[in-house]
């Protein structure tokens, strides 16, 4: 099929030309790239905000900013990273691009809705970020918008809340679209248990998107109502219950962690077999663990609130369920390791990312167990340990998975190869920077450094210097990776149809794929 004469999706001329041909295109591949460019733009902003915070923490006391600016920056960093990057991240970029191709479809089930989702994403981003440029102070609540502060503060929380609400809507529509796509558009012969693991992970993710996101939607609206109409659902001064807010918030926001990590696990499940030259070990177990994570992850939200006031029974139940959800994650990890065992391993850039993912995900996951146990949690709650844990999972887990995926599928997306030695160098610097940045924060948290403060006592100085130093290394690595990819997308040598010898359908179509992916819908035997 590679010698096809049909135009590929990058060259195709539709109803509109130039930029309009992209922002009004309903082609899932173009929409995937729209997401790629917008998410990466926000990611660079979010990463630089993080760098500013690490700069502030390089020494005790005021270094470059006041406490208020620090509060505003960690809030904006959180909102950007969570709502604009890691939640849409892999499903919207790689999922949009590869889900239809991997299941042998021409597009997603609702192409127009797919485009609307991207527009809603942009609208939500603009509304959320407008909070920075309006009259008055930037939001300073943290990305969690905890009540009652979120409706007492004079800062511009309202646009941030409404922005997050719109982004949730975009996420729901993508979820619905993906579920129906997988139910209705699989190629003939592709039974459920023949579907590749990346689509499976998107399937689990999509269900969480559909079943959890509405809860945050209504919760954010209730906070809006508190601010505008003074209703009092969560306001103790009006008889409301602030802990109720935390419950509603985490009913979504904990499953959201699995919206982030499941697709990343899906990418790893594609990359590891390809570069180990083996089929995945225990395909069924990986599928079942995906669905189990999606299901059990729904019932563990209370572990964010161990110190907020709950009955002993609930504490015990939430702690137990938290340990339970670790089992399917461990099953996946063992399956990946077993796939590597006696495989014929080829270390290429995507594989470096995948293997370092395993290392970082393991540390992140095990530190999660520390936080899930009740006694340890009381000590570590709201310390730098928590920050280290979720950056290992959310940034390590999702980020390394995303970069594994983008280096794996780059030749297919752009039809060109990247410079492997620069990509490997970037990975190495990034990996070293990542560990230098976040590992000391475990130590800081255990010794008692609270999070969300711009200042600290002198005892914490040495570890903070190391951590801040790591941030600079990591940003340098990130710059190399991104510049290398951008340059290669334009100037890299032409890629083959299947540069890594992958076995899934996307490697049978030309690089870059033609407009509707397949000249003839393939039949799976």
């Amino acid at each position: 099929m590679s010698n096809s004469n049909l135009p590929n999706y990058l060259e195709y001329k539709g109803k509109y030309k130039g930029l309009l041909g992209w922002i009004f295109s309903t082609d899932h591949k173009r929409i995937g790239l729209l997401y790629l460019y917008s998410v990466m733009t926000f990611f660079i902003v979010g990463a630089l905000l993080g760098l500013l915070m690490k700069f502030e923490l390089i020494a005790p006391g005021k270094t470059i900013m006041e406490a208020k600016s620090y509060n505003a920056i960690f809030t904006l960093h959180g909102i950007t990273m969570i709502f604009l990057i890691v939640i849409p991240g892999i499903p919207a970029i790689l999922g949009n691009f590869f889900l239809p191709i991997m299941i042998g479809a021409k597009d997603v089930f609702y192409p127009k809705l797919n485009l609307i989702s991207w527009w809603l994403y942009i609208l939500g981003a603009v509304v959320a970020l407008s909070s920075q440029f309006m009259h008055g102070a930037s939001p300073d609540t943290g990305w969690t918008f905890y009540a009652p502060y979120s409706f007492r503060t004079q800062s511009n929380v309202l646009p941030a809340l409404i922005g997050a609400f719109i982004l949730g809507f975009s996420s729901i529509l993508t979820g619905i679209n993906f579920i129906v796509t997988m139910h209705r558009l699989r190629a003939p012969g592709m039974k459920w248990l023949k579907m590749p693991l990346f689509p499976w992970s998107l399937y689990g993710t999509a269900w969480i998107q559909v079943l959890a996101t509405p809860i945050i939607g209504i919760t954010l609206l209730m906070v809006v109502a508190e601010r505008v109409l003074n209703i009092g659902f969560f306001d103790p001064a009006l008889g409301g219950d602030p802990v109720l807010y935390q419950h509603l918030f985490w009913i979504y926001s904990h499953p959201a962690v699995y919206i982030m990590i499941l697709p990343s696990m899906g990418v790893i499940s594609e990359v590891i077999p390809t570069f180990a030259r083996k089929e995945i070990f225990g395909y069924n177990a990986v599928v079942i663990s995906t669905l189990l994570i999606a299901f059990v992850g729904y019932f563990v939200w209370g572990h964010h609130m161990f110190t907020a006031g709950m009955s002993e029974t609930s504490l015990f139940a939430f702690s137990f369920l938290t340990f339970l959800v670790a089992i399917p994650s461990a099953i996946k990890t063992f399956n990946w390791l077993a796939t590597l065992y006696k495989g014929s391993i080829i270390l290429k850039t995507p594989m470096y990312w995948a293997v370092s993912f395993l290392f970082i995900f393991m540390i992140g996951g095990l530190s999660g167990m520390v936080l899930g146990s009740l006694a340890a949690n009381v000590h570590l709650h709201d310390t730098a340990f928590v920050v280290a844990h979720f950056h290992f999972i959310v940034f390590g887990g999702v980020g390394f998975g995303f970069f594994a995926g983008i280096h794996y599928w780059f030749p297919k997306i752009f039809g060109r190869m990247y410079d492997a030695s620069w990509a490997d160098t970037g990975w190495l610097i990034f990996f070293i920077g990542f560990l230098t940045l976040y590992a000391p924060m475990f130590y800081l948290g255990i010794t008692g450094m609270p999070r969300r403060y711009y200042d600290y006592v002198p005892e914490f100085h040495p570890a903070n210097i190391i951590s801040s130093f790591g941030a600079f290394i990591m940003i340098a690595g990130l710059a190399i990776i991104i510049i290398n990819l951008i340059r290669s997308a334009k100037k890299g040598p032409k890629a083959e149809e299947s540069p890594w010898g992958g076995k899934t359908l996307e490697w049978t179509v030309s690089s870059p794929p033609i407009v509707e992916n397949f000249e003839e819908i393939p039949e799976i035997k």
Binding site: V210, I215, M222, F233, G239, D241, L248
Partner: protein, 203 residues
């Protein structure tokens, strides 16, 4: 929810499936408010019962009947289109629209009376009442307000769909958009079916 009507691919079942998923999300969306209602009621039982006496059961009952009939008429519109009866479809859609508007007019007078008595979120009279009353009326305005917003969206959708039926974009072979509109309308109906007893009947 739009199907793939830009190209030749038409999948009635698939399009309906997407709509059902959307309805799940709507139920969960309202579920958050029902959850807050349940907990607030559990904590302020007597206050909720007293506050509920303020509502007019007759107006609520009339609105319930109106919505139930409108659900029936839109279901008949879905049947009529399959029997290739375009005019009857349009008549049933028109009746549904009229009933929806009557519902809103009723709601307007009901809310208006409350506001006239000084009962609205943040009002001085309400602040003087107890916590339970404040929460009850807060929830009343939030939940029925959000529901009324869904009615308004429903009216807009039914209008668009009626035009499509009139132009024969929707016909006996391709009526999933009409059917999905019906599903949405039933959703709006069923949410009201729960709001009515929770606010008007339990005293």
């Amino acid at each position: 929810m739009e199907g793939n009507n830009s190209n030749d691919h038409y999948d009635h079942e698939g399009s309906k499936m997407g709509m059902w998923l959307f309805i799940f999300t709507e139920l969960l969306f309202f579920g958050g408010l029902f959850f807050v209602y349940a907990i607030s009621r559990y904590k302020n039982e007597t206050a909720f019962a007293l506050a509920a006496e303020e509502l007019n059961v007759t107006t609520g009952a009339i609105n319930t009947i109106i919505l139930l009939i409108s659900s029936a008429t839109i279901a008949m519109a879905v049947s009529a289109i399959q029997l290739k009866k375009k005019n009857i479809t349009l008549i049933f859609l028109a009746i549904t629209l009229i009933l929806a508007v009557v519902f809103l007019v009723n709601k307007y007078f009901e809310w208006g009376a409350k506001i006239e008595h000084g009962i609205y979120p943040g009002s001085e009279i309400l602040q003087q009442l107890g916590y339970g009353e404040i929460l009850y009326f807060g929830l009343y305005f939030a939940m029925t307000g959000l529901h009324a917003l869904h009615i308004i969206v429903g009216i807009v959708i039914i209008l668009i769909i009626s035009v499509k039926v009139y132009n024969e974009k929707i016909h006996a072979e391709r009526f999933v958009q009409l059917e999905n509109t019906g599903l949405y309308w039933h959703l709006v109906d069923i949410i009201w079916i729960f709001l009515f007893p929770l606010f008007y009947l339990i005293v």
